[in-house]
């Protein structure tokens, strides 16, 4: 067990995720056949032996509450410590419930953070896909005795916005912002291990004047005052999901065995999620399934290719599903044909229905709709 306290912040529904976050916070977006985005951050903490985790929630947190429940599926339902859900409780009366950024989210639960018994915290964004060996990052943090340690990765993409430039001594002293393209330094995975007192001082500094952003306000200020950040490099697969396009691309990337191996490396670092009472998946006598990721509890009698099927999906005889993501309990009826479609939970695709999007512009069917 590690003497650290985990904090996951689940910031608001990114507008570019459109209907996918109509009724949910982006951290509870279903991903990869049986997960929600938050499972990756939460599992990383549990796998590193972090005993207590607080999850800060913005508006639209009902599905997150439902998913996390007591925390039992992550081994966090405990008498002492374990999982704490933190819906905003310290906001001014007129507040919309929508946070301007991470620092405002932290301020909303200030008394909780003040009372954390451990001396160090791991602060982590809840909307990344990846499987970080947090234990190794924590080892580095304690070994160097750094005030603050960042998890960073090589590469670029829409998720690689905040970049830290690592000096030869392993510490970063410069923070850069890049809009998507390649840039100097390593991008921040939005996972920081730091002294609790340092986090509280960040919160004090950002308490006034609309300073709501962790990187732009707190980290930039800390570095300008001569601070330095130890860097733990995690160069495996990592994506932050902020738009429908990101979501579709990251989902399809799972069909590459290299990415699957990076996300689900071994039994040591399993990604945990809410368990459902589930049956194995049944493949019918005429089913034809190729190059797909399929969760348990599906019933497939039709054709499925290059697709992600969540738990309990049904594909009837004569239906064709290609390049699609079908979330939990969605039903595709006889003769229906789907291409580049993201069907949210509990959708019904009616008999003979034909829908085709493109990889750049997939069709999204909102939760519970008939198409």
């Amino acid at each position: 067990m590690r003497n650290l306290h985990g904090i996951i912040y689940t910031l608001s529904s990114e507008p570019e995720l459109q209907q996918l976050v109509r009724n949910r916070n982006s951290a509870s977006l279903p991903f990869g056949g049986r997960y929600r985005l938050i499972d990756f951050a939460l599992s990383a903490m549990v796998n590193a032996g972090i005993p207590d985790v607080g999850v800060i929630m913005e508006r639209d947190y009902q599905s997150l509450l439902d998913h996390l429940s007591s925390g039992a599926d992550w081994g966090l339902a405990r008498r002492r410590g374990g999982l704490r859900m933190l819906p905003p409780f310290g906001l001014p009366e007129a507040h919309s419930g929508h946070f301007g950024g991470c620092m405002e989210a932290l301020r909303s639960v200030r008394s909780y953070i003040r009372d954390i018994p451990q001396g160090d915290v791991v602060l982590c964004a809840g909307d990344w896909v990846g499987n970080v060996d947090l234990s190794a990052a924590i080892d580095l943090h304690f070994h160097t005795g750094a005030e603050i340690t960042a998890v960073c990765s090589e590469g670029y993409g829409p998720f690689a916005h905040h970049r830290l430039v690592k000096d030869d001594d392993g510490y970063a002293r410069r923070l850069l912002f890049s809009e998507g393209g390649p840039g100097e330094g390593l991008f921040s995975r939005e996972i920081y291990i730091m002294k609790k007192d340092l986090l509280l001082s960040f919160m004090d500094f950002c308490s006034e004047g609309g300073k709501n952003h962790f990187h732009r306000n707190a980290i930039a200020h800390y570095l300008s005052e001569g601070g330095k950040i130890a860097v733990y490099e995690h160069n495996e697969y990592a994506r932050r999901i902020t738009s429908v396009r990101d979501y579709y691309d990251a989902s399809m990337e799972l069909l590459d065995p290299v990415n699957m191996a990076a996300l689900f490396p071994s039994e040591d670092r399993p990604i945990r999620t809410k368990e459902r009472a589930e049956v194995s998946t049944y493949y019918g006598e005429q089913s034809k399934v190729r190059n797909s990721l399929v969760a348990d509890g599906c019933y497939i009698e039709g054709e499925v290719e290059n697709s992600i099927l969540f738990r309990g999906v049904r594909v009837a005889k004569g239906a064709k599903v290609k390049d699609c993501i079908l979330m939990q309990d969605t039903v595709v009826n006889d003769g229906a044909e789907l291409r580049c479609v993201i069907a949210d939970k509990d959708c019904v695709i009616t008999e003979g229905c034909f829908l085709a999007g493109s990889p750049r512009l997939p069709i999204v069917i909102p939760k519970g709709e008939r198409a």
Binding site: F264, I271, V279, Y282, Y283, S287
Partner: protein, 398 residues
């Protein structure tokens, strides 16, 4: 805390007719139907029937079974006032302690466990049957008929009746005779090995039976006949639906194949879920070269070969160019490229190397049967495992 009815699950048998499959685990812990282990069926039936206290009597190789049952959390049986209790044989003051010498003796040795809950009724279950059953409905009938014991029965064919304990019924509908494996059955009403007893009656019968030196301490052979002789009322509870005893290789294979016919037993019914403890694994990967038909596949599997009419538990790998037909693959089994597995059961973590063949389709020959590879066996490159084989150890090509 007083309970109306508690369940006692007999899970201590070796399951010797499963040979290599039970060489290191008890029969109730055998993987079944992809997602499950055999014990999931009675435990889920208890939970779904509202029976929240279950004693699991273990004796043979219990370690993995104990770990699997754990706190009973996967079946929602981990409540404060109920729970699942593993009950191994134990020592008493001044005695050496005894193994359970029969099904009735196992319950006799745990009378104190039952008395602590002070139930009106006790449900006796075994750990080797695949079925969905509402024990609450059976209990209602038991109470309504004022019986000392109610025995669940199922109609079998006259031919099958010779292999079962058969109940003969009087005009009033109560049981008036019990015959174990009769040569000339008088009825086709077979005992399913599921009993509800009024606890005070069973308690007395167990004490008397224990004093009888000639008794085999068996429910079917001793306790039921004893109650009948004493003129107690025994009622047959007619069960209709899917029920299979999976005590032999053939019946285990058959019942797994039945899981491919959802019309036989509906495992998708949200009102009667069969629950299990699943390892934490990612979804199954169906590769670009895969051809999977009329099969069930479970999380953690990676399939890139041909799989027909088969049952794959979690973490099974079927490589590109491998063929699996009419087979049952238990967790962690791995079939390499170019290997063929037909009409076979592969135990946990079995590896079938490239070019190896396990089993064949039925050919009408005398020695034909399902080929079975015990847990952790490796079938070497190019080796052949003949139909009907029971493999305990690694083989190499000859």
């Amino acid at each position: 805390m007083k309970k109306e009815c508690i369940a006692m699950l007999l899970a201590g048998g070796q399951g010797s007719r499963l040979y290599a499959l039970t060489s290191s685990v008890a029969k109730p812990n055998i993987p079944f139907g992809g997602k499950y282990r055999i014990i999931d069926f009675p435990l889920s039936n208890c939970a779904n029937s509202g029976i929240d206290t279950v004693g699991v009597l273990t004796q043979y190789r219990p370690m993995k079974l104990n770990a699997y049952v754990g706190t009973g959390q996967p079946w929602d049986l981990n409540s404060d006032d109920g729970g699942v209790f593993i009950l191994p044989p134990y020592m008493s003051q001044g005695e050496k302690g005894n193994w359970f010498s029969g099904t009735a003796n196992a319950i006799y040795q745990n009378m104190e466990f039952i008395d602590l809950r002070d139930p009106e009724y006790v449900l006796i279950l075994s750990g080797d049957h695949i079925y969905k059953m509402d024990y609450a409905a059976m209990l209602e009938e038991h109470k309504e008929k004022g019986a000392a014991a109610t025995i669940a029965v199922i109609q079998v064919s006259m031919d099958e009746a010779k292999r079962f304990g058969i109940m003969n019924i009087g005009e009033d509908g109560y049981i008036n005779e019990f015959e174990e494996k009769p040569a000339h059955p008088k009825s086709t009403m077979a005992s399913m090995g599921i009993y509800i007893f009024t606890w005070s009656k069973l308690r007395q019968a167990l004490i008397e039976d224990e004093a009888d030196p000639d008794s085999q301490r068996d429910f079917g052979k001793n306790i039921i006949p004893r109650l009948l002789n004493q003129g107690e009322k025994l009622w047959p509870y007619q069960f209709k639906g899917y029920w299979r005893d999976v005590g032999t290789i053939t019946s285990l294979w058959d019942a797994n194949m039945d899981m491919l016919s959802p019309e036989l037993i509906d495992l998708y019914d949200p009102n009667w879920p069969i629950l299990s403890r699943s390892p934490i694994r990612p979804p199954q990967v169906v590769g670009p070269e895969a051809d999977v038909r009329h099969s069930i596949v479970t999380e953690g599997c990676v399939v890139n070969g041909s799989v027909f009419n088969s049952v794959l538990s979690n973490q099974v790998t079927v490589e590109k160019g491998a063929t699996v037909e009419y087979s049952v693959l238990m967790p962690g089994a791995h079939v390499e490229a170019g290997a063929e597995v037909r009409f076979a059961i592969l135990g946990e973590n079995v590896r079938v190397c490239g070019g190896a063949h396990v089993g064949t389709a039925p050919d009408g020959s005398e020695g034909w049967g399902v080929a079975t590879c015990g847990p952790n066996v490796t079938v070497g490159p190019g080796a052949f495992v003949a139909p009907g084989t029971m493999l305990y150890d690694d083989v190499v090509a000859t």
